[in-house]
């Protein structure tokens, strides 16, 4: 006798929740939130490098998911769909901030809440960084590409499309990210 695969039961349960959430049932959406929030937050945190920003981003992801759920037809697993949506939210926000930064650098407006990362200042010599902290220290584009490729499993061409950059640039960012990480982790 073949035992039922627990993953099938999970998938069926998730599909049922999605169906109810699409009808506007907030309890079902909350259940979906509970089962996915950790992964979404991990993605937002690793891509942004900042806990406060990650919280804002995760919030936006779930609000956007609620808005777009009626359009989700179940072609992919809900978690896959949600993760793609999360990546889009983070990348959109980064693009928006780059535009705002350009304004700031032109002297049009100062905003002390700008969270975008640039270079990092070293901490004390004796401190060893763990990998999470090292990833968070990466410059924005290098970090984004590294997380999408190494953590989320995106291909170079998928990252290029998502970030609207050339594949060669994706490759350059990825290689740079790895070099920097090795430097951070070897200290």
């Amino acid at each position: 006798m073949t035992l039922p695969d627990p993953r099938d039961a999970d998938a069926a349960h998730e599909a049922a929740l999605v169906a109810r959430a699409r009808q506007g049932e907030s309890e079902a959406f909350e259940a979906l939130y509970r089962s996915t929030a950790g992964r979404v937050f991990a993605l937002c945190l690793r891509m942004s490098g900042d806990r406060e920003r990650a919280r804002e981003l995760a919030h936006d992801v779930f609000v956007r998911a609620w808005e777009k759920l009626p359009g989700f037809r179940g072609e992919a697993a809900f978690s896959t769909w949600l993760h793609r949506l999360a990546v889009n939210v983070v990348l959109e926000r980064q693009r928006g901030e780059r535009r705002r930064q350009a304004h700031e650098e032109a002297g049009l407006e100062e905003d002390d809440e700008t969270p975008a990362m640039r270079r990092v200042v070293r901490i004390d010599e004796g401190d060893r960084l763990d990998l999470e902290a090292a990833i968070a220290r990466l410059p924005t584009n290098a970090r984004t590409v590294f997380v999408l490729h190494e953590v989320q499993g995106y291909r170079h061409d998928e990252i290029a499309q998502a970030m609207a950059i050339a594949e060669g640039t994706v490759r350059a960012h990825l290689h740079r990210a790895r070099r920097l990480l090795m430097e951070f982790l070897s200290r």
């Binding site: 506007g24 808005e67 777009k68 490759r171 290689h175």
Partner: protein, 242 residues
């Protein structure tokens, strides 16, 4: 080859992005070059370490409540995006966690509609006309009137001011209720004790203003008490973000 491999080639090797010919060249070099082998091993270890990172990280407390409040502020889903922007356009204003003034208005309406024990109207009941209490869920001083008498109203000159305060307080109290779970019990106790104190003061001053509608000093003192309540609820809602 006597020189070491370039960093980009090492990475391409690890990522399997070399052509067959290049890969053969690289393998040949790695067989003879310990340093480059170490570099490849280190790259592979970095990849393995990254893949071994926990897939999930616990979000900060209160995130679901913020999401729920935002969704509630958007009203029932109609199958259309909540905004009129194109679906894939970037957000015009980044939504911040925690209640902001713009969301609170709608969130408060939804929460007030759902919550029991909240009155925001001056009602007439058996000769006792309660003063407007705003969503404290706490009994307040009631102003007795003679049976058959009219419910006490503040002077027209103050009515608009009071209405504005009451609207504001409804929003803020809803935010406080939504954030209660994130507050320590001692904090909740301090806030509720203070709300009781302020509500009693409002009730007394209001009753006096009703009896002496031309008393400008009374109107200003009542306004001060309302303002105190607004301030207290705002700070209570914000303190949950610590």
């Amino acid at each position: 080859m006597s020189m070491h491999l370039e960093w980009d080639r090492l990475n391409d090797c690890v990522d399997g992005r070399l052509s067959a010919a290049d890969e053969a060249d690289v393998r040949e070099h790695l067989a003879e070059c310990r340093d480059c082998r170490s570099a490849v091993d280190a790259l592979r270890a970095l990849g393995a370490g990254t893949r071994a990172l926990p897939p999930a990280i616990e979000p900060p407390p209160g995130l679901w409540q913020d999401v729920a409040a935002t969704i509630a502020a958007g009203g029932a889903r109609t199958g259309k995006p909540l905004s009129s922007r194109p679906p894939d356009s970037p957000p015009v204003v980044p939504v911040r966690p925690g209640p902001s003034r713009r969301w609170l208005a709608a969130a408060a309406v939804v929460l007030m509609a759902l919550s029991s024990g909240i009155t925001a109207l001056v009602l007439r009941r058996d000769g006792v006309a309660p003063v407007p209490v705003v969503a404290t869920g706490i009994p307040t001083v009631r102003t007795p009137v003679a049976a058959g008498g009219t419910a006490p109203v503040v002077p027209a000159s103050f009515a608009a001011t009071e209405a504005a305060y009451l609207d504001n307080l409804a929003e803020l109290h809803a935010a406080f209720v939504a954030q209660r779970h994130a507050l320590a019990p001692t904090t909740i106790a301090v806030v509720e004790r203070s709300l009781l104190t302020i509500d009693a003061a409002i009730a007394e001053a209001r009753a006096a203003l009703v009896a002496d509608p031309a008393n400008q000093a009374l109107a200003e003192l009542l306004s001060t008490s309302y303002r105190q309540k607004v301030e207290l609820l705002r700070r209570a809602a914000e303190s949950s973000e610590t």
